[in-house]
Amino acid sequence: MSEVAWQKGWWRKDLLSIKELSREEIQMILDTADSFKEISTRDIKKVPTLRGKTVITLFYEPSTRTRTSFEIAAKRLSADTINISVSTSSVVKGETLLDTALNLQAMEPDIIVLRHSAAGAPDMLARALKASVINAGDGFREHPTQALLDMMTVREKKGSLEGLLLAIVGDIAHSRVARSNIYGFKKMGARVRVVGPGTLIPRGIESLGVEVFHDLREGIRGADVVMALRIQRERLEGAFFPSEREYARFFGLSLDVLREMAPNALIMHPGPMNRGVEITPDVADGPGSVILEQVTNGVAVRMAVLYLLAGGTRGEDLH
């Protein structure tokens, strides 16, 4: 953790989940991200803040957006970045996750950004390594930087999350994005609903303090923010819902259905989208859609997280 960050009140070595963060910590990350956002609009999109730091992205699942976003964030802060993905690593030779990580640790990186299909994998590395670990998505459990960029985007548009109504629509059961956002938005004072067929809403989710709806119109009625989740058709069709067609008809966001939302409501999607399934193209590209702004803010949020976890004493050089 950086000295500057420490002075601000940041104590953590790792970012593993939103669940473990306090409201103040989330606030601090979002404030920091707000101040970093401007860097990406400069002609020279680089500050020396993390010069000499090494960031490794270790991705055990395919990803374009998240990995690129972390890499760009690190580079704009002048860190050295190394990207490892399953196909090019020694994983194919049968090395365990822990052995891979210990070998990387031996090369003294400062931060490891891990995406893994197994829930809890980042926590295991965090305990074993000296380097900071950032969870870039673990199984169905959490995707903290996604929730942070979602909160940043909403805060930017609405001023505050306090008292807002968020409706998350779709495959809640298999979604790390849903879990992180439920924790995050609730901590920041928003109300959260989850909407989807009974098969895709995990049993007992009410215990997280959300309301459950199986009817899309009812579920998004009066919502300030509607977030559609990606439907993994290849895995779910037939088993969790009958067909893509039926899913689109009953749970897809369309212009007609969106009339139920509050005026000036925001439409979000963590990507990648199945246009015509969980969201129609006219909604994805229409007014209220902040889907690409989410991606823009993703860089700022990840810069903030990298900075808080590994920021050098050069923090003041920022401006």
């Binding site: 098969t199 969790f240 067609r245 039926e246 008809r249």
Partner: protein
């Protein structure tokens, strides 16, 4: 024009009514029920009078388990002949099972059935959609679309959903759409190729048996899944004492489970199979005396909510074969009233309980209008002469299915009028 039904005894448990009363019908709806002899405001001379002196008047019967065979098996029954059989049996609403060909696993078939029912303009027909595509027990059918097309429940009746995970997901999904799941409870690995109840009669006759436990294992599973998912599960054609115990216990725990029993499981035992009459072959099979007594007790104490016929018409060709090869099923619509009033006569049920089981409860379980004569409800009602006996002659059935093990039985209680939406759709030749 108004219709006035006068002189009869009206029994309507939905409003605690049992006694002489006049029923006024206007615009297809119940307008008013007045104590007999009381002057009626606005009584008009042009009212059509139906004399119901000494007759029993009840809300139209709702049979929540019938097979209309159409589309696909029109040689066994059509929606028209099935609807004719229904109203002749005093039944004003039927819910029909999806094991047609093609099965009711998508909206177009449901719309076909509803259109045919509308053309028949006799009994009201409420389709039940398939749980799984092609009734295969694998992928979910388009349950949302089925609901939008008009189904009132889902079931793979006749084909148990053997994969517990598929059943779990069906319940979770159907719950979200507010549909009950009707379960045909049978563990096929236990019932494999049996053709009658496993017991002393199957032993004597040398027929392969279907054990009680084949039903009970699945009843237990589906009750547990209903409890886990919070979905309403309705157990079709309960036939064993063990199933009754499981359902009774589940209801006590507050599980959302309801259950039905057929008339034939209430009055026949597996002893009937000794006749080698293939019309006694039915699934679930006729069981033992102890099972029948447990079913009657379960009706009385509310464990079983509904009497439904499982009307399963077959052509002679399906039945005029060796017992082991014969099709399962009994044509039941036209003997429903006679057989079940026998239970009232024997003191198993009182009249008010009877109406609850054959009309009020099934309407409530399916969430359909009917089962009541409260003013404003559709004027669906059944008028029964409870004193006249008649002999069951399948040749007189409106149903194409003449397959009844009750042929030659003398039954007391005969439907004289059936009204649907205030229209007389059946009148007995007096």
């Amino acid at each position: 024009m108004r219709i006035c039904i006068r002189g009869g005894r009206v029994v309507d448990p939905s409003q605690g009514l049992d006694g002489p009363a006049e029923i006024w019908i206007k615009g297809g709806q119940i307008e008013a029920i007045c104590r007999a002899g009381a002057p009626v405001g606005g009584c008009q001379r042009d009212a059509q009078i139906i004399e119901a002196k000494d007759f029993l008047i009840v809300p139209g019967l709702v049979d929540m388990h019938v097979h209309l065979r159409d589309p696909g098996y029109e040689y066994k029954e059509t929606i028209l002949t099935g609807a004719e059989a229904a109203v002749a049996g005093g039944v004003t609403s039927v819910a029909c099972m999806p094991n047609t060909d093609p099965p009711m696993d998508h909206g177009a078939v449901v719309e076909y059935v509803l259109r045919k029912a509308k053309e028949a303009a006799l009994a009201k027909v409420y389709p039940i959609g398939a749980i799984s595509r092609g009734l295969k027990g694998e992928a979910l059918s388009e349950i949302g679309e089925l609901k939008a097309s008009g189904v009132v429940a889902i079931s793979d009746d006749g084909r148990p959903v053997t994969n517990a995970l598929v059943m779990r997901r069906a319940m979770e999904y159907a719950k979200g759409f507010g549909l009950p799941v009707i379960s045909h409870c049978e563990e096929p690995t236990l019932s494999a190729r049996g053709s009658m109840n496993e017991g002393e009669v199957s032993l004597e006759l040398g027929l392969r048996g279907i054990p009680s436990v084949a039903e009970e294992a699945m009843v237990a599973r589906d009750i547990l899944l209903a409890e886990w998912t919070g979905c309403h599960v309705h157990i079709a054609h309960v036939s064993t004492a063990g199933s009754v115990r499981l359902i009774r216990d589940a209801k006590r725990r507050g599980v959302k489970v309801t259950a039905e029993v057929t008339p034939h499981h209430l009055v026949l035992t597996h002893d009937a199979v000794r006749s080698w009459d293939t019309d006694t072959k039915v699934n679930p099979p006729l069981r033992s005396r102890e099972d029948v007594e447990a079913l009657q007790e379960a009706l009385r104490d509310g464990t079983i909510d509904v009497i439904a016929t499982d009307h399963a018409p077959h052509a002679r060709v399906d039945k005029e074969v060796e017992y082991e090869l014969a099709a399962f099923g009994i044509s039941g619509l036209e003997t429903l009233v006679g057989l079940t009033l026998m239970l009232v006569e024997r003191g198993v049920l009182d009249l008010s309980q009877w109406v609850t089981k054959v009309s009020l409860n099934p309407a409530r379980i399916l969430g359909i209008k009917g089962g009541t004569l409260t003013p404003g409800s559709p004027a669906d009602l059944t008028i029964i002469d409870t004193n006249t006996s008649w002999k069951v002659d399948p040749a007189n059935f409106r149903s194409k299915g003449k397959n009844t093990p009750f042929k030659g039985w003398i039954l007391k209680g005969r439907v004289v009028y059936t009204l649907v939406d205030g229209r007389v759709v059946y009148k007995a030749g007096i």
